[in-house]
């Protein structure tokens, strides 16, 4: 949405009041004209005299009101819907907002002009009509911006001041003032005195009536608005609850590593939020002929068992969905929809919505929400459940794709490694002399082949490990693990490896370390990669120290230090990049996949840990990990 459009919408929202009031003003003006002429008629009736200037002004008002009515009909955006119906503000364009403003100003200015003329002809500031300017100011204040209200206020005051200036006694009047010249000359005349009293009283009555009318109209409008606000706030509250639930549901589904758990959280959340009785997910079988319950919440075992496999042809409501309907609401009384209404009634279900679990155009199954009240689903409920069904379908599809990918990776790795293992096994038979003794050169060559193949094997293994880790699925559910126990098991294995290479390996394992959130396998991979790296790049006679202690800042500190070849400083930044091996490491040994430290980094990311390296060439390297 463009920002300009948003602005227009916002202006329109606040201008709604004005737009609604414009035809009201026109109607009000008709009333003024009618009552005005009636007043003139009354004056004629009592005094056989016509206040012609006043009638001229009223005729002017009548004319411009006709003009306004014509303009309003052209301007009105809701001719067909009527002025008071809820209008969709998106129908109105930016220039229309300006037109409405100009229209309102034109009406108020002309009204004020007409009123000032009437005041002038009826006696200037002393005119009883002078009281009526107040209503105009109130109306301006309601309809237009505060600044406009003050401007009109000042204008009115200046005009009234001008009237004072032109009043007899101050300055010669341009026109003879009707009120002074026709009524007041009869000073001392009791009829005239009565007349003044009557005029004052009638004006007061009119003023009181207008005030009462304005106040009650405004109050009614405020009350309607208040009610509207209350309704809106309730609606917002309800959608907020729904959205929060939807968010929780998506979050929970995103964390599921298997389809059953994913669908269970969808059905549980759906039934939980909306206060509906039950919810189910049915999936289509491969032949697209039957539906099977994949997850249910709130339905009895008996019901689920009785409907273990639903033949689509025999279930009209489900068939409707499979045939592509966006949704289907079923009431138990509708006989055509249900093959076995008595089962459903027994379950306490009065109505249900079925929605497709759809990924693009492919339908995976049916998402069903059950209610114990008849016809309890509104259109907005249907929209909400449709959103829920779509999200569930998307998550199911996503998880299946990931599971398939992991399965494919594992299978591919197996297929790659099988021939390798056969070759290595055969080479070992050759090398160990099971097929007769070899000469030194032959044995050396076979050993080289074997080493290269072992490297290839660990490369496949590391790649598989890394690829599975990088699928969005979290294959390992974290739980509390004692690091020291995992390391103690490994220390035996690495001890014998170190002895083979004549490297001194020392383990400092602090007792009473707090458990960390991890899995045995993650920690195993972490330790194995770090320690075997240290052993790999340390020449015979060197030393490797592994320290597992409580960190000063909290958590656990793992330090793996060696007296090996070290890492050149320029290689620090690329140490954790895939397949990267420092030049001196490549010179030192050919065995190394360039993936070990990448795996270490991924594991630490998963465990929310950190790693730092310090090293100097020829003296050794130290890797320090911190686990929370």
């Amino acid at each position: 949405m463009q920002p300009g459009y948003v602005l227009v919408k916002e202006q329109l929202f606040f201008r709604k009041e004005l737009i609604e009031r414009l035809p009201w003003l026109i109607r009000l003006r008709w009333a003024v004209v009618v009552f005005g002429f009636a007043g003139c008629g009354a004056i004629y009736f009592f005094w056989q005299w016509l206040p012609l200037p006043l009638m001229a002004i009223l005729s002017g008002v009548l004319c411009y009101n006709l003009l306004f009515l014509f303009v309003w009909r052209r301007l009105s955006p809701f001719k067909s819907q009527g002025a008071h119906s809820d209008f969709d503000s998106s129908f109105i364009r930016a220039q229309d907002v300006l037109r409405f403003n100009v229209f309102a100003h034109a009406q108020i200015s002309l009204d004020l002009l007409a009123l000032c003329m009437a005041i002038w002809y009826s006696g200037g500031v002393c005119s009883p009509l002078a009281l009526f300017v107040i209503f105009h100011i109130i109306l301006t204040g309601i309809l237009l911006q505060p600044l406009s209200c003050y401007l009109y206020g000042v204008l009115v005051l200046l005009t009234l001041g001008g009237l004072v200036w032109f009043q007899p006694g101050v300055h010669s009047p341009i026109f003879p003032l009707w009120y002074q010249h026709v009524i007041l000359p009869h000073d001392g005349n009791p009829v005239a005195k009565d007349f003044i009293g009557i005029v004052r009283y009638v004006t007061l009555v009119v003023a009181v009536l207008i005030t009462a009318f304005l106040v009650t109209t405004l109050k009614l409008s405020l009350r309607t608005k208040g009610r509207e606000l209350l309704r809106l706030s309730k609606a917002i509250d309800a959608s907020n609850t729904k959205l929060t639930a939807l968010y929780d549901m998506v979050k929970e589904m995103g964390m599921s590593t298997e389809s059953k758990a994913l669908m269970d959280s969808a059905t549980r959340r759906a039934a939980g939020i909306m206060g509906v009785k039950a919810c189910s997910i049915k999936l289509l079988d491969e032949q697209h002929k039957n539906l099977r319950f994949a997850s249910t919440y709130g339905l009895s075992e008996e019901y689920i068992k009785s409907k273990e496999s639903i033949d689509i042809q025999k279930s009209p409501i489900n068939r409707k969905i499979i045939d592509g309907a966006v949704y289907a609401i079923g009431h138990i009384e509708e006989r055509d929809y249900f093959a076995y209404p008595e089962d459903i009634r027994k379950e306490g279900i009065a109505s249900l919505i079925c929605l497709p679990l759809r990924v693009e155009k492919r339908i995976l199954g049916v998402f069903c929400v059950y209610s114990d009240a008849d016809a309890s689903f509104t259109e907005s409920d249907v929209r909400f459940f449709a959103l829920m069904a779509d999200l569930t379908a998307m998550e199911i599809e996503k998880l299946n794709t990931q599971l398939n990918r992991i399965w494919f990776l594992q299978k591919a790795a197996h297929q790659l490694r099988s021939p390798l293992h056969a070759v290595v096994s055969m080479l070992r038979i050759l090398q160990k002399g099971y097929l007769g003794e070899m000469n030194v050169k032959q044995e050396e060559t076979v050993l080289r082949c074997e080493k290269r193949l072992e490297l290839l094997d660990s490369l496949v293994k590391d790649l598989l490990n890394l690829s599975i880790r990088r699928t969005a699925l979290n294959p390992d559910a974290l739980h509390r693990v004692q690091l020291s126990e995992v390391l103690r098991v490994l220390s035996g294995l690495f001890g014998s490896q170190a002895r083979e290479k004549t490297i001194d390996i020392i383990f400092h394992i602090d007792e009473n370390l707090p458990a960390v959130m991890a899995t045995d396998r993650l920690l195993d991979d972490l330790f194995t990669n770090l320690i075997s790296n240290a052993l790999k790049y340390t020449p015979p006679g060197g030393k490797v120290t592994v320290c597992l202690t409580r960190a000063e800042e909290g958590g656990i500190r793992l330090e793996v230090a060696d007296t090996g070849i070290g890492i050149p400083e320029q290689d620090f930044s690329r140490l954790f990049s895939e397949f990267y091996r420092a030049e001196n490491a490549k010179d030192f040994t050919e065995t190394g996949t360039g993936l070990g430290l990448v795996i270490v980094k991924e594991i630490l990311d998963q465990l929310k840990g950190t790693i730092s390296v310090s090293s100097s060439i020829g003296e050794g390297s130290t890797f320090v990990c911190h686990l929370p």
């Binding site: 490694r417 099988s418 021939p419 096994s425 070992r428 038979i429 072992e454 396998r521 195993d524």
Partner: protein, 143 residues
């Protein structure tokens, strides 16, 4: 017992089977081979071996496991020691992807895991250890 220890190797990789045959025959073990779970079961029915070396993924992804469970649920076969050979690291087979999930609920019927590629010496050491343990167990149960 006829003097010669009877080992049944079940693996769909013929080269690997041949390598094992060479290793085992060098120690005078009697070797029979099968290339999938079904064949393996037929060979077991024909004569109960002293030890089975079993691959995991053969005809199906879990062919090896399926056979191991089938044997463990039959009285006459449940005491045969099984060495499971897998290209997957042992940890992965234990912690398992979904494919192995159904097995995890029960106790392992497998005496030992070895990781491929097979090291002849490791294999022989493990076999001898398992056979010796099995012999003691058998003697105890017969007493």
């Amino acid at each position: 017992m006829s003097g010669v220890t009877d080992i049944l190797v079940i693996d769909d990789d013929k080269d690997l089977v041949e390598s094992m045959r060479i290793i085992l025959e060098s120690r005078q073990y009697g070797v029979r081979v099968a290339y999938n779970g079904k064949q393996g079961y037929e060979k077991i029915e024909a004569k109960i071996p002293d030890l089975i070396i079993l691959d995991v993924m053969m005809a199906t992804d879990t062919d090896g496991f399926d056979l191991a469970y089938k044997l463990k649920h039959q009285h006459e076969y449940q005491n045969i020691p099984i060495i499971m050979a897998t290209s997957f690291p042992q940890k992965m087979a234990e912690e398992g992807s979904d494919k192995f999930q159904h097995i995890l609920g029960e106790s392992w019927p497998i005496s030992h895991f070895i990781e491929k590629p097979i090291d002849p010496e490791d294999l022989l050491i493990i076999m001898e250890k398992i056979l010796a343990e099995h012999k003691i167990e058998m003697n105890q149960s017969s007493v």
